[in-house]
Every structure is written in structure tokens, then in C-alpha cells.
């Protein structure tokens, strides 16, 4: 783990301030408040070290937080016009735990609007570009998503670790695209309280770091039961310790046959085959079959869109969020606020989800998707 000294924070802030030319992982509008927070966190850490002679596990470690985690007094936008001016009055459990462990927040990172996407391109702040393979303003690669901002912040070294969220790959995908470690912890292990939801039944706060040890440290800091999230596992969480010399003997790696599909680039297929052979020859890789793979996208889409339709119902512009000047009627106000506040992807999912949830469609789509999800999960259970 990077040494938890106060200077790390300052360095990180510097990188954020000067290296922002080719990416937008932080939202500049509240850079100032964040810097203040980072500096005050820095002072706190220093006091802690100097006077109390105690170190916290993440003392002075700079972290970035995906901008769908609520942070007290710091704007939390979900990269949407709807929440552009939303300043929460509370901290997400994940952030509270990180702060208590000594970490300092250096930025809120960019994402696809409401975490709907896998490129970090659908943000009101513009795309977050991948630092790898960047040629020019017009020739760049996507960072993956929806936690692209978090991935880039770790990749360029402006934060030691970043928190993303992962519903259907939103942490693992940008980690892969940026060449860092991305972990989606088991559902229920990490509290979702304060994470603005995409799909409640699949959302998990994700961890992005440069190495596995760092990921372990972060997981140890944020995992465990939370009274504020009824879906967390009630059992006490025992901190994970990784041995220096570990054996892969008891590890079983599944290589799903169906995941090899048309349209994959030659480079990827070659790498895939190389690794698969390696694992198999060492005796812990095993080809497995997931017959339902082809359906998984459809299942995911239906479940995702239904919960999205439901979760987005609260954005009516009354209590918080964008409210247009429409004053003909409450219904008109809802309609104009929601159509101006959400981008096309979000609106499209809301429409589709509401369609699937109509009482005449419920059994045909939502119920079937739930059953298939169970079967897909069973497939994995059987293998492992």
C-alpha cells in the first residue's frame, strides 16, 4: 500500500489540477471545495500521526469517489442535469468508513449518467478519455464505464484507490480498459447506503486500485454489516489477509465456453486462448458451460430497466433536482423536468421498464427474467 503520508494528498491534488487536459474524471465546478476537504483531511492525518502517534489503516491515502455516492456538503450529480445542483446532507456509508479509516477524498469522479453505460461517454460533463493510447483531442479511446472516472483517476496516479459502482460490470469493465485492478465484492458485503441506485438488487460498490493488496485494504475498510442497508450480510466481517506466498491449488477458474463469441478482436481471442491454455495446463482452469449465456443480456436488460423505471420515479423536481418553470399543471411540471433532466439513455430505459412492469406484461417479462436470473445463478453455483 502507498505510504499514508500527508504529502500524498498534496501530490494528488496537484495532478488533478494540472493533468486535467486530456480527461475529465473530476468535475471542475466543485474542485475548490474538494481541495479544501483534501487539505483539511491532510491536516487531520498529520495531527493524528504527530500527536496521537497512531496510524489509521488508510491514513492520508487519497481516494476518488464515483459521483453517484452521496457526500455531505459536496455536490453529487450522477453526471446528470437532473442532479447538477444536488448537495446531499449526508455521507454514504462507504465514504464514512473510508474517512474514518483516514483516507482523504480528492475528487468525485465522472460516470455515465446515473451509471447507465459502459464507456463514460454519456455524461453532462463530457467523456472521460482513456490515458492509454491517447493520440490527440480527436483520436482517443474510451475509458470504459460506467466508473470510467474512478478508473482513470487511479491509472494516472491522482488517487491511490477509487470507489466505483458495479451493477453489470461498471467497475470491472473500466478497470480492464485502463489496465488496473477492479473488484466487484459479493452483493451484501458492502453497504449501498448513500449509493444512488441503478439496480438495487445488483448494485455493489466497487473498488479500483493499481494492485490487489490495495484493493484488499480498501475492502477491509468498507465491508461489513450496516444497519442502514437491510440487504447487507448480518454476519460480522472478518478482515481479509493475503499471504505473500499463496498457492493457486485450491482455486478454480471457470472458462465459460459461451463467452467466446463472434465479433471479438483477434488480439483478445489470442490472449484468451493463451491464458486459458496456461490455466488448464496448470490444472486449475476448467472449461465450463453456461447454456443460458445468450439470454443473460436480455435478462439483465429487463431487470435493469424495470428497477431503473422505479428508481427514477422520485426525480420529479419537487424536493430536489431540476425543476423547470412549467406551471400549467403538476403533471406538466413532471413531464418537462424529467424530459430536460434525463438524457436519452435514461429516458429510454424508463419507458422500457415501465412497459415491462405493466400488469399485463409483468409475468411475460419481469417474472420470467427473475426466474432466468435464478437459473443463471444456479449454473455458477453448480460449477463452483
Amino acid at each position: 500500500m502507498a505510504s499514508p503520508t500527508a504529502t500524498t494528498c498534496k501530490e494528488a491534488v496537484n495532478i488533478v489540477q494540472h493533468d486535467d487536459s486530456f480527461m475529465r474524471f473530476l468535475q471542475e465546478m466543485y474542485q475548490k471545495e474538494l481541495n479544501e476537504q483534501a487539505v483539511s483531511g491532510n491536516i487531520e492525518s498529520e495531527k493524528h500521526l504527530d500527536f496521537e502517534k497512531k496510524t489509521k489503516p488508510l491514513n492520508g491515502v487519497p481516494i476518488a469517489l464515483k459521483d453517484n455516492f452521496c457526500t455531505k456538503d459536496i455536490t453529487t450529480t450522477c453526471a446528470s442535469k437532473m442532479l447538477e445542483n444536488f448537495v446531499p446532507t449526508y455521507d454514504a456509508t462507504v465514504y464514512r468508513k473510508l474517512r474514518e479509516a483516514g483516507a482523504c477524498l480528492i475528487g468525485k469522479s465522472n460516470l455515465d449518467e446515473f451509471a447507465m453505460g459502459s464507456g463514460t461517454v454519456d455524461s453532462i460533463y463530457g467523456p472521460t478519455k482513456n490515458p492509454w493510447g491517447w493520440e490527440s483531442e480527436h483520436d482517443w479511446r474510451i475509458s470504459g464505464g460506467s466508473s470510467g472516472g474512478s478508473a482513470v483517476s487511479v491509472t494516472v496516479g491522482s488517487s491511490v484507490a477509487a470507489i466505483g459502482s458495479d451493477t453489470g460490470g461498471s467497475t470491472r469493465n473500466p478497470a480492464a480498459l485502463c489496465g488496473i485492478v477492479g473488484l466487484k465484492p459479493t452483493y451484501g458485503l458492502v453497504s449501498r447506503y448513500g449509493l444512488i441506485p441503478l439496480v438495487n438488487s445488483m448494485d455493489v460498490p466497487g473498488i479500483l486500485t493499481r494492485n490487489v493488496d490495495d484493493a484488499t485494504e480498501i475492502l477491509n475498510a468498507i465491508a461489513g454489516p450496516d444497519d442502514l442497508d437491510s440487504t447487507t450480510i448480518k454476519k460480522q466481517f472478518n478482515k481479509i489477509k493475503l499471504n505473500e506466498d499463496f498457492s493457486l491449488k485450491n482455486v478454480k477458474v471457470g472458462i465459460p465456453k459461451e463467452y467466446y463469441c463472434d465479433g471479438m478482436s483477434e488480439e483478445i481471442v489470442t490472449t484468451w486462448k493463451y491464458i486459458a491454455n496456461l490455466l488448464e495446463s496448470e490444472g486449475f482452469g476448467q472449461i465450463c458451460k453456461h447454456a443460458l449465456t445468450s439470454m443473460s443480456i436480455a435478462v439483465y436488460s429487463i431487470l435493469n430497466q424495470c428497477e431503473v423505471a422505479s428508481n427514477m420515479a422520485r426525480y420529479d423536481g419537487l424536493e430536489y433536482g431540476l425543476r423547470t418553470d412549467e406551471n400549467y399543471s403538476t403533471e406538466e411540471l413532471y413531464a418537462s423536468s424529467r424530459s430536460q433532466g434525463f438524457n436519452n439513455v435514461v429516458r429510454w430505459r424508463i419507458f422500457a421498464g415501465n412497459y415491462f412492469l405493466l400488469s399485463r406484461n409483468y409475468d411475460k417479462y419481469f417474472m420470467k427474467a427473475l426466474k432466468l436470473r435464478r437459473l443463471i445463478a444456479d449454473d455458477f453455483k453448480k460449477f463452483f
Partner: protein, 567 residues
């Protein structure tokens, strides 16, 4: 004409009524958040982040609410479900911040219960009769906020204090026939939830709200199209709304129209139901399982309570005596009349007085009940005090009842005593009696003197009496009561005055007889004698109507009570 028409054809129709009742649970905090569950707070002051649907917040189920829901279900003989689940019910409304309500549509807390109750509305039913209604399900759910519409300023204001308040919804089968039965069911339900301490039952505060489904059909035919009357806010409102809705549907069908399946509201002032405009369209609530709450599990087998699993048998052991059990007990133990028992049990405050007062000394249960239901209720109404706010002590009411029994005061005096006590509950009873001169005169001589006085002072009335107008007796009593400020024991007075008047009458008879003697010489006296002495009754026409006159042995001086002999 219209009235006649509808009365004639009504016999061919049968009405069917089913209720849905929402009851707010008496918990300290809301169903899924920590903000206080209280009525009447400063606007938007009991609102947590979750209640305002702030993004990222999650529901946490309040254990107490589950317990209260289970208690109600047990009291109504429901089957409690080992596993129940929460669903989201979606609709857009300004007082529903999340855009959905968390409820239990698919797997509710409890199913298959029954409520038994007595139907008795004084003035409508001659005597009580029994009814019951099956309960389809009981579910836990959130209340919404409140919207206030200002049509002049074209503004809607929202108060979220009520948003997230715990409710149970009780869905009844359509087992009822009319509004009175529905009102009786609601009244019984209010008593039960109050007994359980589950809900305040205060309909005027919206703590218990009733939706009624009403349809009419001809016997032997399938049920008619129903309409739903939403949010009826009082027991009498339930009776009135349903009665008017049945009449309305009947009038439509009679003229060949058809009933539209719609939601209506009860206008208590205009006394009619009106279609609700904003709910005209049939809504698809797009139910979906609530993903943030795991299934709710309860322990049906053992009394062991765990942090996350409530024991149903343990709760069953804490059930109090229910209103119907109380009624049976009261009728058996004190031999009270069924209608008084129904009225007594309907007023928990009065029932408490009864139970506490009857324990001390021996008191006549019927007299005590009558006193509570008549004198006390009248005095409270007169002073505009709600029965439940009555501050009188058990001992005070007990003493008054005893004084009545010993004739130290009369009902009139008791009423005055109550008036004073209700204003100043700390004053000694004896002091009030002294100050207000409420003490009853039971001394016969004193009473007789007053009676004579009234006879002397009202010669005209006495003459009318003599002439056979016995109705004036009451007038004389009234004058006497008024003159003496009700201080006389009126039962004694009434007897005494009657006696005295009879003497006056007899004296008159005596005088008349003398006159008749004169007549007899002309051959008519014999007839009179037979009449007066023989039949004990004067013949009509002779001395007015049916004045009871007895044998004329001796004649006393009517003005001197101690003189004279037997009548």
C-alpha cells in the same frame, strides 16, 4: 313520486358492501425511517432523508410496526404468514416523494381473518343483531404526505410529516349489506385497535380511514359493477356515504343507466358522493418487488424472540381482552341489557369508569350504567367535552351515584353537580351541594307544606284538575319543582301532591254528593252511590274522565295533612 318509485322497486335489489380500512400504527417512529410518527407537528418537521426520497437512502423496517400489525392480525383470527414481502406500487403524486408506495401486495403479513360485531344504531335498529365479515388480507404499508391545494393562488403545498407513517391496510370481503353494517364494523374495529393499543382510532385525525366498495344487483344475478368511495373519515360518514351511494346507483339503474367503475369521494356537507376527477383514468400501478428489503420472516412455532425474527406465539400471549369478550362478561356478570352493554363498551372511557366504580361498595350495575350513558354523557355534551377527555375521578362519579341511590340528590341535582365538577374537577362534592343547595328535601312534612302551597297558589290549575283535566298535574309538579329549584325529592312530591289533589277532589265530590242528595230526592241518588262506592270508579261524564276515586268512608280536611282518615 320519485321516492315512491324507488321504494317500490328497491325490494328487487340487493346491495353489497366491502370495506378497505387503513389504520395508522402507534409506533414511536415511522415504518422505514427514524423520524417521529406524530400527529399535528409543525409542517415538514418530522421528515427524514428517506421520507423525502433523497437519492441513496434505503428503507429499514421498524420492528415495532411489524409487532403491531401481527397483534391486529391475531385479534382478528388471521393466519400470519411465515414469510411476507414488500412491493412497490407506482403512481405520480406530489405527496408521494419516491413516486411509489412500499406496500405488501403479493405476500401480505396475514390472510384469512374474520371480524364479528353487533349492529345496533339507536333509532334505526330496534335491537342489536350479529354480523361478521371475512378479512382477505392485512398488509403493512407507508402512508403518503398531505397535499394542500390553493385554487386561488393556483398552488399546491406539500407536507411530508405523514409521509412514511406506518399503516396497516385491512381488506374485507364484500360481506355486508348496507351502510349501518359497515359503520358497525368500523366502530368495532376502532374498539379493537384501541384495545390493542395498535392505533389511536381517531378518525377525525385520519388515524383510521375507510374506503367502501359498493354495488347493487338483483338476487340470483351476478354482482353489479362496483364503485369505490375513498377516505371516509367518520363512523357516521361510513353509514351515510354508503346509503347515499346505494340510492344513487339504484336511481341510475332504475332509469336504465349503467354504473361506471369509478372512484368517488364522500361530501359530508352536501351528503352525497361525487366522482373524483384526478383518479378518472384506470391506473396501472406497475407493482414490483421492493429490492431493498429482504423478505420479512416471523417465528410461528416458539416463543423465542430473535433480533430479526419476531415470535408470533409470544405476541399471542400478550393479547388483551377484546370488546366482544367484555360484552359477554358484562351481560353475564351484571345482567345488563344488550343494548346498554353495546353502548358502554363502545365508549372505553365510560367502560373504565364502570369497571372501576362497580368494584367499590355494592352499586346497582343497571343504575350505574344508566347514569354513565345518560347523565354523564348529557353533561359532557352540554359542556362540549369529548367523552375521552372527561377528567372526573372514579370516586367522584361513584359518590354521585351513591347519593342518587340514597336520594340525597335527584337526577336534576346530579346534572348540576356534574356541570360544576366538569369545570372545576378539584372541588369537593359536598361543598358544591352546599353552595348550590342541591341537597334533596326528603322530610315529608316539608314536602307536604310545599305541595299545599302550590295548590293554594294555583287555584286555576286546581280547578281545571277538579274539572277532570288531570294533565295539569304535571304542570303543578313543574311549578313546584321550579319554585323549589328542584330541591325536593320529586318521587315523594309526586305522590304527595297526587294525594292532596285527590283530597281536594274528594271534598268536591262530597260537596257534590250533598247536592246529589238533593237530586236523589228526585230519584237519582241511588245511581250515583252505586257508581262511586261500588265500582271505585266514577263514570265518565259524571265528573270528568276516569278519575280514580275510592270509597268514601270519611272526609278529611284536604288542607290539613295530619287530619282525616283513610281513602
Amino acid at each position: 313520486m320519485k321516492r315512491h318509485c324507488s321504494a317500490q322497486s328497491r325490494e328487487k335489489w340487493r346491495s353489497v358492501v366491502g370495506l378497505e380500512v387503513h389504520a395508522q400504527l402507534n409506533s414511536e417512529s415511522k415504518l422505514f425511517s427514524g423520524s417521529p410518527n406524530r400527529f399535528g407537528g409543525l409542517v415538514n418537521n418530522y421528515v427524514s432523508l428517506f421520507d423525502a426520497a433523497i437519492p441513496g437512502t434505503l428503507p429499514v423496517l421498524n420492528r415495532r410496526c411489524v409487532e403491531l400489525g401481527i397483534l391486529t392480525a391475531l385479534a382478528l383470527s388471521c393466519k400470519i404468514n411465515e414469510v411476507s414481502m414488500f412491493d412497490r406500487k407506482h403512481y405520480f403524486y406530489a405527496d408521494l416523494p419516491a413516486g411509489y408506495q412500499i406496500t405488501q401486495q403479493r405476500a401480505p403479513l396475514a390472510n384469512d381473518g374474520i371480524i364479528n360485531f353487533q349492529v345496533f344504531t339507536p333509532g334505526i335498529h330496534k335491537k342489536p343483531y350479529k354480523r361478521s365479515s371475512k378479512i382477505k388480507q392485512i398488509q403493512l404499508e407507508q402512508d403518503s404526505g398531505k397535499s394542500l391545494h390553493d385554487s386561488e393562488l393556483k398552488q399546491s403545498l406539500v407536507d411530508l410529516n405523514r409521509a412514511g407513517v406506518p399503516l396497516i391496510e385491512l381488506v374485507f370481503e364484500p360481506d355486508l349489506e348496507d351502510g349501518e353494517e359497515a359503520a358497525a364494523l368500523v366502530k368495532e374495529l376502532v374498539l379493537i385497535v384501541q384495545r390493542l393499543g395498535v392505533c389511536s382510532g381517531r378518525m377525525e385525525e385520519g388515524a383510521l380511514r375507510v374506503d367502501a366498495n359498493v354495488s347493487i344487483h338483483r338476487p340470483g344475478e351476478p354482482l353489479g359493477t362496483r364503485t369505490e368511495i375513498k377516505n371516509i373519515g367518520s363512523v357516521r360518514g361510513v353509514a351515510g356515504a354508503i346509503r347515499h351511494e346505494i340510492e344513487r346507483q339504484h336511481d341510475i339503474l332504475k332509469c336504465g343507466g349503467c354504473i361506471v367503475n369509478e372512484t368517488r369521494a364522500w361530501d359530508a356537507v352536501a351528503r352525497r358522493t361525487v366522482a373524483m376527477r384526478d383518479k378518472e383514468q384506470v391506473q396501472d400501478y406497475r407493482y414490483m418487488p421492493e429490492p431493498n428489503l429482504p423478505p420479512l420472516r416471523v417465528n410461528l412455532m416458539t416463543e423465542k424472540d430473535m433480533p430479526d425474527v419476531i415470535s408470533v406465539p409470544r405476541l399471542h400471549g400478550t393479547l388483551p381482552e377484546l370488546p366482544e369478550q367484555t360484552r359477554q362478561k358484562l351481560m353475564q356478570k351484571y345482567e345488563l341489557r344488550p343494548d346498554s352493554v353495546i353502548q358502554l363498551v363502545s365508549e372505553p372511557t365510560l367502560l373504565k369508569y364502570f369497571n372501576n366504580i362497580i368494584l367499590v361498595n355494592y352499586r346497582n350495575p343497571n343504575k350505574l350504567v344508566n347514569f354513565l350513558l345518560n347523565e354523564l354523557v348529557t353533561a359532557l355534551n352540554k359542556n362540549k367535552i369529548d367523552i375521552e377527555d372527561c377528567a372526573l375521578k372514579d370516586s367522584q362519579i361513584g359518590e354521585i351515584v351513591d347519593m342518587l341511590a340514597k336520594k340525597k340528590i335527584d337526577l336534576e341535582g346530579a346534572g348540576q353537580l356534574l356541570d360544576v365538577l366538569l369545570l372545576k374537577p378539584d372541588v369537593e362534592l359536598t361543598d358544591i351541594i352546599k353552595e348550590q343547595h342541591l341537597s334533596l328535601v326528603i322530610d315529608e312534612e316539608e314536602i307536604t307544606r310545599k305541595c299545599i302551597e302550590v295548590i293554594r297558589n294555583n287555584p286555576k290549575l286546581v280547578k281545571q284538575y277538579k274539572d277532570g283535566k288531570i294533565k295539569v298535574f304535571k304542570a303543578l309538579l313543574g311549578i313546584l319543582a321550579k319554585d323549589t329549584q328542584h330541591r325536593l325529592d320529586m318521587s315523594v312530591v309526586s305522590k304527595k301532591l297526587e294525594d292532596l289533589l285527590k283530597r281536594v277532589l274528594v271534598q268536591t265530590l262530597y260537596e257534590k254528593r250533598n247536592r246529589l242528595h238533593l237530586v236523589a230526592r228526585r230519584g237519582e241518588a241511588r245511581k250515583w252511590r252505586t257508581c262511586a262506592v261500588g265500582t271505585h270508579v266514577c263514570r265518565p261524564g259524571a265528573f270528568g274522565e276516569a278519575i280514580k276515586v275510592v270509597q268514601l268512608y270519611s272526609i278529611a280536611d284536604p288542607t290539613n295533612p295530619s287530619s282525616g282518615g283513610l281513602f
